[in-house]
Amino acid sequence: MNFNKIYALGLRHLYLIMNSFPRVLDLIYWPTVQIFLWGFISKFFTLNSEYYNNTVGIILTAAILYDFLFRASISFNMMFLEEIWSRNFTNLFIAPIKIREIIAALTITAILRTLIGLIPAVLIAIPLFGVSVLSLGIPLIFLLLSLYLFGVTLGLLVTSGLLRYGPSFENIAWASLFFLAPLGCIYYPIDILPLSLQIIAKGLPLVHIFEEMRSILMNNTVNYFNIFKSISISVMYFIFGVIIFYISYFGAKKRGTLINMGE
């Protein structure tokens, strides 16, 4: 791995953000709207029943964590799509940069885009709804790590699709996360799902992450085994994503789609 090249590719996306105020605004806008929306919905529940007293904290924390996953995945996809939209794809793939360095650069830079969008939303939630995601304590770092790896994996799978099918696969990039959201048990416990879907859901790291989040907030207990399980599942999916990306890359070279991408 050549870190100068990873840095160069990261710099390309940093310049892109710095050169465009609307782009920064777009990154911040959606997570903030999410926080407002879920904050007010949860507040409405607490007004009508004592049963829901803790709802604001749990739902808003879940919304923030889910948005972190969503932003990580979309950021990865967006950076790849930027190369197609700007017709820079050929220049990038003929530069002396290894495929693993491209993956590393996109993975590292995606965190920057994710944090630019999410930090303002997290800060707004504190005074407005009295909810701080930091109340999860040290486990938050591990939960975010697991979410990030899974988000990047989804990004890798979508970009593999872009390599395989070309820009027409773009719509899947936007929809990819919504496919998994119902099985992720983000806002409800896994018991809500029918038994057959519970089996599938347990194969995703999301269930373990959000179950653990609720357990910390409601019972003040941390089960590090669950956190470790979610990270392990995320790592496995990440490795799978990297393999699929390589397969798609070599397939695209065979089909000759790399040379026409974005033209």
Binding site: R12, Y15, L16, N19, R87, N88, T90, A95, P96
Partner: protein, 243 residues
């Protein structure tokens, strides 16, 4: 011989884009790759750049198969410019050159950017976003990117397409001067026959994925009894025979 292309073939499904072509390029020479649209020029360039996997055949650089080199080792010896491939539009000219300079691992990058920017007269729009430039300015920036690493092998795909005669002439003169002062082997795909006559030591004519003739411009014009390369091109492109 510096570059050897042996039996290079590319078949997409049932369509043969490049059909067992053979040619070689001497070091520091400029070869023109000519042919009508869809004759396989871009696919040939794509295979040389590692963007397309050949179905058959091989590309040798200094008698070593291109496959035996590490991806980044071989690609840092190449570069490519085409008006159909752009640099990120929202980045300034300077930012784009900086990023590609870093990707190609250029030492003394600022010095190199200054040098190439002065040579190609792009300093006066250095801080402007690439997407805001005219096509002539974009072409010069694209050429600057393609020369940032002082490539040993430069692939140019229609470098003066859609340019006005003045800018087109500037680019051609620059390539000529650059060749005089630097050791570079150039493969030039173009539809501009006067450009090919001016820049190329010899040409390869392609049609339907095959090489139908090759030689120096003068020899080809003489061989086919025509007055210039354009007429020779038309004869070859429209004829059904191989020569």
């Amino acid at each position: 011989m510096f570059i050897k292309i042996r039996n290079l073939t590319k078949i997409y499904n049932n369509f043969c884009a490049v059909n067992k072509i053979n040619f070689q390029i001497e070091k520091n020479k400029t070869i023109g790759l000519l042919g009508p649209n869809g004759c396989g020029k871009t696919t040939t360039i794509g295979m040389m750049l590692g963007l397309v996997t050949p179905t058959e055949g091989e590309i040798l650089i200094e008698n070593k198969s291109i496959k035996s080199f590490k991806r980044d080792d071989i690609l840092k010896r190449f570069n490519f410019a085409s008006p159909y491939v752009e640099l990120p539009k929202k980045l300034t000219v300077k930012q784009n050159l900086e990023i590609y300079g870093r990707l190609y691992g250029i030492k003394n990058l600022n010095e190199r950017i200054n040098e190439i920017s002065s040579d190609l007269d792009i300093k006066n729009f250095y801080e402007r976003k690439t997407g805001e430039l005219s096509s002539g300015q974009k072409n010069r920036v694209s050429l600057a990117k393609s020369l940032i690493n002082k490539p040993e092998i430069l692939l140019l795909d229609e470098p003066t397409a859609s340019l006005d005669p003045d800018i087109g002439d500037f680019i051609r003169s620059y390539i000529q001067d650059y060749k005089k002062n630097n050791r570079v082997t150039v493969l030039l795909a173009s539809h501009n026959m006067s450009e090919v006559e001016r820049l190329c030591d010899s040409v390869i004519m392609m049609r339907k994925g095959k090489i139908i003739d090759s030689g120096s411009c003068k020899d080809l014009i003489k061989k086919h009894g025509r007055n210039n390369l354009e007429e020779t091109f038309l004869k070859l492109a429209r004829s059904k025979d191989e020569f």
